[in-house]
């Protein structure tokens, strides 16, 4: 029931079509693809420049651009399903009601393998989203989504890799019905000019790894999915060795669009070894 061991992280696989080109003959067939976060209404995203390089990573304030649920259901989802991807739809809402609405409508859409609830976006990226600073906020969102989404399909809670709150956050989401927790999202950061954004890429891997290890120790029964800086077998195995059931690949795809295909092939030929 837990996807993986290699998944595409939200917002880093385009609409799926662009990525398929770099995945060999099979394209997205059998690949666990997390969509960019989908909101009820379309979002244009933030102004440019949305992304800047820093040593070891990227700072982004992309602002969750997406065509809104209606358009996603009509165009992007059917394409992904036809391509054979295991589609996990990332959702983001401004209110609890919106999260519930998104979950209900996605539960009826053919081909949705699971949901990932974005409850850990860095502040600037998630402008206009439901405020989820406190673990009980995330838990209430997860509970609202779980009520609307069939119990036999996973609901993943995606959390910020904040080591001071991660165990508490993961526990609340687990109790609220999350199948697994994704640790983590981009880390709150600033652009060189001071604007707020989120840091991603190899630079944040040690931060997310620490969070995964803490959760695995404190909550061994809760599956975790490591996300942050995965770019090769070694960085993926670090998460799996720390207790993660699976990993997600984001920024590495922007640097080399074949990363996910190569990692999948590596895991197929030598499961979870260096």
């Amino acid at each position: 029931m837990i996807p993986g061991p290699v998944m595409v992280a939200a917002g880093c696989g385009g609409t799926g079509r662009e990525l398929a080109t770099y995945c060999g003959d099979d394209g997205l067939d059998g690949l666990d693809f997390v969509t960019r976060s989908i909101t009820l209404d379309a979002r244009a995203g933030g102004p440019g420049p949305r992304i800047e390089e820093v040593p070891g990573g990227l700072v982004n304030a992309v602002g969750l651009p997406n065509p809104g649920l209606e358009h996603f259901l009509a165009t992007e989802l059917p394409w992904l399903v036809r391509a054979g991807a295991r589609v996990i739809v990332s959702i983001a809402g401004a209110t609890m009601g919106e999260y519930a609405d998104l979950a209900r409508r996605l539960s009826r859409a053919p081909g949705v393998a699971g949901l990932e609830v974005n409850v850990g976006a860095p502040d600037e990226v998630g402008v206009g989203l439901f405020e989820v600073r406190e673990p009980y906020h995330s838990a209430s969102v997860i509970a609202a989504v779980r009520r609307e989404f069939p119990a036999d399909r996973p609901v993943l809670a995606k959390l910020r890799p904040d080591v001071s709150r991660i165990v508490e956050g993961a526990r609340s989401c687990h109790e609220a019905g999350a199948t697994a927790v994704v640790i983590g999202n981009a880390v709150p950061a600033a652009f060189p000019d001071g604007r707020s954004g989120g840091l991603s890429g190899p630079a944040i891997a040690p931060v997310a790894l620490r969070c995964v290890a803490e959760v695995a120790r404190a909550l061994p029964e809760l599956p975790t999915i490591g996300c942050g800086g995965v770019h090769d077998l070694r960085s993926a195995n670090a998460y799996l060795d720390a207790g993660a059931a699976s990993v997600q690949v984001g920024t590495a795809l922007l640097h080399d669009p074949t990363t996910v295909a190569r990692l999948r092939a590596a895991f197929t030929s030598s499961p979870q070894e260096d």
């Binding site: 880093c12 385009g14 662009e18 244009a44 949305r50 390089e53 990227l58 982004n60 922007l254 669009p257």
Partner: protein, 271 residues
Amino acid sequence: MSEVQGPVHVEAEVVATKRIGGYRHLTLTAPGVPERFRAGNFVAVTVEGHVARRALWVHRVRASSSYGPTLDVVVEDRGAGSGTAWLAAQPVGTRLALTGPLGRPFALPKDAVSCLLVGEGYAAAPLFPLAERLRERGCGVSLVVSAPDESRLLAALEARRSARSVTVLTADGSVGLRGTVADHVDDLLRRSDADVVYAAGPHAVLRAAAGAAERAGAWSQVAVETPTPCGTGLCHGCVLPVVGEDGVDRVVRTCADGPVVRGDRVRWEAL
């Protein structure tokens, strides 16, 4: 044989490097890329020590050479940013991860109409393969190559084969007409009697060319550059504000929905 399509991610190799004025011209082998190329496409290359990639216009492709098929790119030789400076310094034999061809190319007219091509600096690069394609279709090509000064003028000499007229503009008047594209484009368009205007260069050049086309009742296509982190359409990080076919304002991805778009669709004030 079925037509080869879509971009590929390959290991490219620098097989020649030449300084011309302020630019460095690199000739690369990149298996499968020259074969798929259409004028207006670009490539994304990996630069050592950088996460984001660098987008580069393709200046020329050769179907065969002693190295097999090759493509040429043009980068600033000095005074450029850290990534392009690294690229310009690479010797023959350097291997680079390269993805391409990327983006929507220039659309070609169905009929043998006359076309005005306006480009500035290194960004004039894609107009050279475009001129060749247009000539093959029987279109009359008037080429305008502009630059701040002579060192940033892409050699127009070889274009004389594909163009029926070539005009050179420099801001400082060091060669050709003195002034900017904005100063001369209405006049050049009138004289060329073109039905289609193609432009490539800084936003001011594109905007001036698109404006002139609109005033003259011609079509325009512009090749837009904006900061492009991945080049492949995956990150939604490059922002191109346009007006959709339906009249609705939208923000599209420069790399995947552009970089070539209709000039009258760009919301210049939001760029």
